[in-house]
Symmetry: C2
DNA sequence: AAAATAGTTCAAATGTTTTTGAACTATTTA
DNA sequence: TAAATAGTTCAAAAACATTTGAACTATTTT
């Protein structure tokens, strides 16, 4: 602990502070099967380009993990990141 | 549950997604005594104007509670907000 | 081999947040 | 009563985030 610059923490909260990304996270949380970017985009009406942008941000924050298989990119939530930076945030600051 | 618009949730995450505000929160968490905006501002080197802006955002998000006494404004953390929107976020989406 | 599909990248346009300084209100101290 | 202190408000400037469409790569289907 003894946080001086908080950069990772800010990256996480920024990534969570957007309705498109919150919708993506919600969708992933409620879906057991492995899901592609395209499926999420179609389900939530997000354009390809905008989807690409948001998935990249989520990935850079460590919120999702991605796996590329041929043409498609599969995404899944990284629950450890939530544990560390969200669920335990208040306790740890 | 069964979130459709997430507006409060986004307000909270936006409020948390800034280094000045995270520093303020950290300062308040580690201080038992009641603290004024001015004390925080001095301790963290935030200008009056910028402090005023950030305290207002934190208040609007429900992250701090304020009490005005004569010239000064005392601020304290609202742990219930963290419980509801941060600590239990992942569980509840 | 051509067409379709999945996703990325780029730059421009648009939108939102943050910082700044000056002017302000209200209260307290000299 | 004048000066000092605590904080707010405003508008402009600066900084940052998001959306868009077009052009692109790579893979799969026809």
């Amino acid at each position: 602990m003894m946080n001086t610059k908080n950069t990772d923490q800010i990256t996480i909260f920024k990534a969570l502070a957007d309705s498109v990304r919150l919708d993506i996270i919600e969708y992933l949380k409620h879906n057991d099967h492995e899901v592609s970017c395209g499926e999420v985009g179609k389900a939530l009406n997000i354009s390809k380009t905008s989807g690409s942008y948001h998935f990249k941000l989520l990935q850079e924050a460590g919120i999702i993990t991605t796996r590329k298989e041929a043409r498609e990119k599969y995404v899944s939530l990284n629950s450890k990141t939530f544990d560390k930076y969200v669920t335990n945030f208040y306790k740890n600051i």
